[in-house]
């Protein structure tokens, strides 16, 4: 059964049920009230007549009955019966059978004088002096008729309510399924491999719009990841190719070599190339982990300034050996930061190594920690050749190595890893012109826990 129909039927059924409840309530109440009225009237009339008999005797009662018949309500049924059942006074067409007489209130079927057929009535039977009976009551025909009318109109209104409910259901179902249908259609097209589709938004900001927005945001992220993944697999296949073939060549040459010294040299080269392959693979793994935001459970407080100073101290001798002075400039006081100390150390060491590798010729490398509003900036600046503005985005990409002839393996992953670690901390890695040279800035929110994701 299609959802639309189900929603319509459900709405119709609910309308029917609630109407049924209201109508049932009205029915029961009116029924009870009509009966209560009848009982009261019958009891009152019987009491009046009995009182008349008690105070005025037979003569007064005869008069009262005659009056009631002559001037009273035409629905009134009244009769004074002799002990043998004969009607002494009253308006019954025929006297009820004697054995059915018993004191108390009861329903009966009576025919009044001058009426064509017997009708239902409510009567009170009272036993009087000397075996005489007083039968006093009312026909209930009028009440019955009213109830029948009421029942008919109630039934009619029930049918109308049911139909209206069904109609409302259809309208509602149509609305809901149209909104959901838009989303489903997009999902269908996406399943058919068109990831560029987006859910159209009505702009009202209702729940359907929010659902659509969330789906769109999800699709944006999936698209980005898919693109990256595609690029990654392509580059991985490409970049693993050259060390793998070097490895193969070295192994082959080692197997052929006769001279033990030469063979040892070649085997050393085999190990170095294998290590290079492993390094590429483990860096790629590290990037994927950071992008997947794992590792946040290992976040802790530490001083970013202290970490930067420590790393600069670690790399200072290496920079000096390559002919560059590595200088550190810290913010005033400690810079407490909540993050992954080991991964940030790795990211910063990649940036510093990059500066040393490509910027040493410029003679100076600066490492700075700067507080900037709600951000902490860690800047690594060199005076090397820098990266042209048009190629900076490439440099941040995995395997986005700018000079493909360069053979220091894994170097193409350093910036990408640093960027993914910045992402893990809700931060960003920005490449800029140091005029001359490269200015690499890691922008981190002062407290990444407060950043909405």
């Amino acid at each position: 059964m299609p959802t639309t129909l189900r929603i319509a039927l459900l709405a119709g059924l609910l309308a029917l049920l609630s109407n049924l409840a209201v109508i049932g309530f009205i029915y029961v109440r009116t029924h009870d009230e009509a009966l209560a009225d009848l009982h009261r009237q019958v009891a009152e009339q019987s009491k009046v007549l009995t009182d008349v008999y008690r105070t005025g005797g037979r003569v007064a009662l005869d008069d009262a009955i005659a009056d009631t018949v002559a001037f009273g309500d035409p629905q009134t049924a009244v009769a004074l019966l002799a002990p043998d059942g004969r009607q002494l006074q009253g308006n019954l067409a025929e006297a009820p059978a004697m054995r059915s007489l018993q004191e108390g209130e009861r329903s009966a079927v009576l025919r009044l004088r001058g009426q064509p057929s017997p009708q239902a009535a409510q009567v009170v039977v009272t036993k009087l002096h000397a075996g005489k009976w007083l039968v006093s009551g009312r026909l209930v025909g009028e009440g019955l008729a009213f109830r029948a009318t009421l029942e008919r109109s109630l039934l009619l209104s029930l049918i109308v309510a049911g139909l209206l409910g069904l109609l409302c259901g259809v309208v509602l179902a149509h609305y809901v399924s149209r909104r959901i249908g838009n989303i489903a259609a997009v999902a269908d097209r996406i399943s058919a491999r068109d990831l560029s589709q987006r859910v159209p938004l009505s702009g009202t900001g209702d729940s359907f719009d929010r659902l659509g927005q969330q789906i769109n945001a999800m699709l944006d992220r999936i698209t980005r990841l898919m693109d990256e993944l595609r690029l990654l697999t392509d580059s991985l296949a490409h970049d693993l190719g050259s060390p793998a073939s070097r490895l193969r060549a070295a192994a082959h040459a080692a197997a052929q070599a006769r001279d033990p010294a030469e063979q040892e040299e070649l085997l050393g080269s085999v190990v170095r190339n294998a290590d290079a392959l492993i390094r590429i693979l483990s860096t790629v793994l590290e990037i994927s982990r950071s992008e997947a935001l794992t590792g946040r459970s290992q976040f802790a407080w530490f001083d970013l300034g202290e970490l930067t100073a420590e790393l600069a101290e670690m790399y200072e001798p290496l920079a000096e050996e390559r002919g560059a002075a590595l200088r550190v400039q810290l913010a005033d006081g400690p810079v407490p930061f909540f993050g992954h100390r080991q991964l940030l150390a790795q990211a910063l060491s990649n940036l510093i190594e990059n500066a040393i590798r490509y910027g040493s010729a410029g003679g100076e490398i600066d490492a700075r920690v700067v507080r900037h509003g709600k951000e902490v900036l860690i800047e690594i600046a060199d005076r090397g050749p820098g990266i042209p503005a048009g190629r900076r985005a490439d440099a941040l990409r995995r395997f986005g190595r700018l000079d493909s002839s360069r053979s220091d393996e894994g170097a193409g992953l350093g910036l990408a890893l640093a960027q993914s670690i910045a992402h893990l901390h809700e931060g960003e890695l920005v490449l800029d012109d140091n005029a001359p040279g490269l200015l690499t800035t890691m922008r981190l929110p002062a407290d990444p826990r407060q950043q909405p994701r």
Binding site: E286, P317, L318, N350, I356
Partner: protein, 227 residues
């Protein structure tokens, strides 16, 4: 100086290769091929060291480690793992292991770490109380002062830490990654020879003006401080 080592490794080839190498180094090696068996042996026997693979059938390495530590068995544990990310290493160390080595590794690297762990277990006296002497080199850990042949050497704080680590592993090979982990407390692989530069600076301060070398390069493995 043979020691009893329990090797818990499910890959038969790796296990045999390691067992052979460790036996050649003079240790006696007992093997277990899954986590449950490994835990059983480690709790039952007395070992100087447990080498524990992280991904094991039946019961994984970290669970074995947690169970051992929960049972108050303080035998040093060296974890071997193909899980190389920094987060994985930290997790392994936080579970109570004494060292964490990422696969693939050279046997020299493993051997250096095994010796360092065994040595650390034996040197349980408070290290700061004792002067370290290697040949004519004297180190006073309390004052952080270093003398060679009676002459005071002027070392930077990190150079001192580097030297103290070498001295505590006197006569044993120390690898570059061990230095990075133990002296700097970083758990990534640097892409440069940054550690070598520090070691050669320290070497210059130790050896310049003296005849006898102290800090030796061990080819294909690392460095060793020995008189």
């Amino acid at each position: 100086m043979g020691r009893k080592i329990l090797l818990v490794e499910d890959d038969r080839e790796t296990a045999n290769y390691l067992a052979k190498g460790l036996t050649q180094e003079g240790h006696s090696v007992e093997q277990a091929a899954n986590g449950q068996d490994g835990l059983f042996r480690a709790t039952g026997g007395t070992f100087d060291l447990v080498i524990l693979d992280r991904m094991l059938p039946v019961l994984d390495g970290l669970s074995v480690l947690r169970a051992l530590r929960a049972a108050r068995i303080e035998t040093p544990v060296l974890i071997l793992s193909a899980l190389a990310s920094v987060g994985d290493r930290i997790e392994g160390l936080e579970c109570g292991s004494d060292d964490y080595l990422v696969k693939p590794f050279s046997f020299a690297e493993l051997n250096a770490r095994v010796n360092a762990l065994i040595r650390r277990r034996e040197a349980r006296v408070d290290p700061a109380q004792h002067r370290l002497t290697i040949g004519d080199l004297e180190i006073d850990p309390l004052a952080r002062a270093v003398k060679r042949a009676g002459k005071k050497l002027d070392l930077k704080p990190r150079e001192y830490l580097l030297l103290e680590f070498f001295a505590r592993n006197e006569g044993r090979v120390v690898t570059r990654t061990m230095l990075l982990e133990q002296v700097w407390d970083y758990h990534f692989d640097p892409g440069t020879n940054v550690i070598d530069v520090h070691v050669s600076r320290l070497r210059r301060k130790l050896e310049d003006g003296f005849e006898k070398p102290l800090l030796h390069t061990v080819r294909g493995a690392g460095y060793m401080l020995a008189a």
